[in-house]
Symmetry: C2
Subunit: 187 residues, 2 copies
Amino acid sequence: MLGNLMPSLQKKIIEQLPNRPKLIIMDTMNFWMDIAMEDLLKTISMVDLLMVNDGEARQLSGEYSLVKAAQKIMELGPKYLIIKKGEHGALLFHEKHVFFAPALPLEEVFDPTGAGDTFAGGFIGHLAHTKDISYNNMKTAIIIGSAMASFVVEKFGTERLQEITKEDISRRLNQFVDLVNFDMDVQ
Amino acid sequence: MLGNLMPSLQKKIIEQLPNRPKLIIMDTMNFWMDIAMEDLLKTISMVDLLMVNDGEARQLSGEYSLVKAAQKIMELGPKYLIIKKGEHGALLFHEKHVFFAPALPLEEVFDPTGAGDTFAGGFIGHLAHTKDISYNNMKTAIIIGSAMASFVVEKFGTERLQEITKEDISRRLNQFVDLVNFDMDVQ
């Protein structure tokens, strides 16, 4: 999991690995698109999953529609793409598939700092823990990332993450299930 | 289902009904909040479900957080509240429950005119057809409303709605299921 960093450095890290990992995830930002687009495109071509926000996906692809943006970005190399939309949730794209993870509607967002990194941590943590990098397990992972991010914004810095228990996490995950679960017998 | 109209007229319509329906839904907009707030609040107090967009929910409640806004609006009378967020989906509130229906990520939005009314039509159509006004069935109805709205924006006016078949609708509903469906065994 390559955190947001100078793309040329992310690339060097990949090249230093004696064995290529089964899954390389890369986070990046608009700043590198502005000043180091060539390095950025080279590094993007070497990873399996790219993680950006909606504005960055649009800037990188030149497309306003996130569906079109996703197709263009996956043509750059990554087989998977996560587009984070802040309080509006996150999208996971793979081939022709798309999965949507909502953000939990919160009474109050105390401090949004670290939400994106916490999301990434919850996501990669679930994949690493289950040793399953399938698209189906990525859907679960994106929900877990969203749940973790929903905690971190409730207090300053990492305060909230340091105090929550496993039960708090389970309860929150159940809220996500309730949030999107519906009955549909398509006739 | 009271479409968006002068609140005093919506009120008169309710009063003309010899028997109160089991479910009265009301659509409204910011314009009436600006010029007829008193009439609006009176009419809102007489309905079961209010349907507004996110900006209107904030204006009506004076709260930025949609969770807080929803609680304040339900205190005005309605037991159910739908907050529409356009391309970011819709929320259904009832007591302490919240359900989220995503909008389908589309390649192109050709003409958004009528999306809100089509959403309302699909929603009430499903409730009327199934004769089931439970919260659980409202979740399904909100997905059906979102699916119908996702069609109407694909062409001008009602063009797309006039040409789609039952199979088109079923296929689209399946896309909504795929969009939010995930495995979660909360430990």
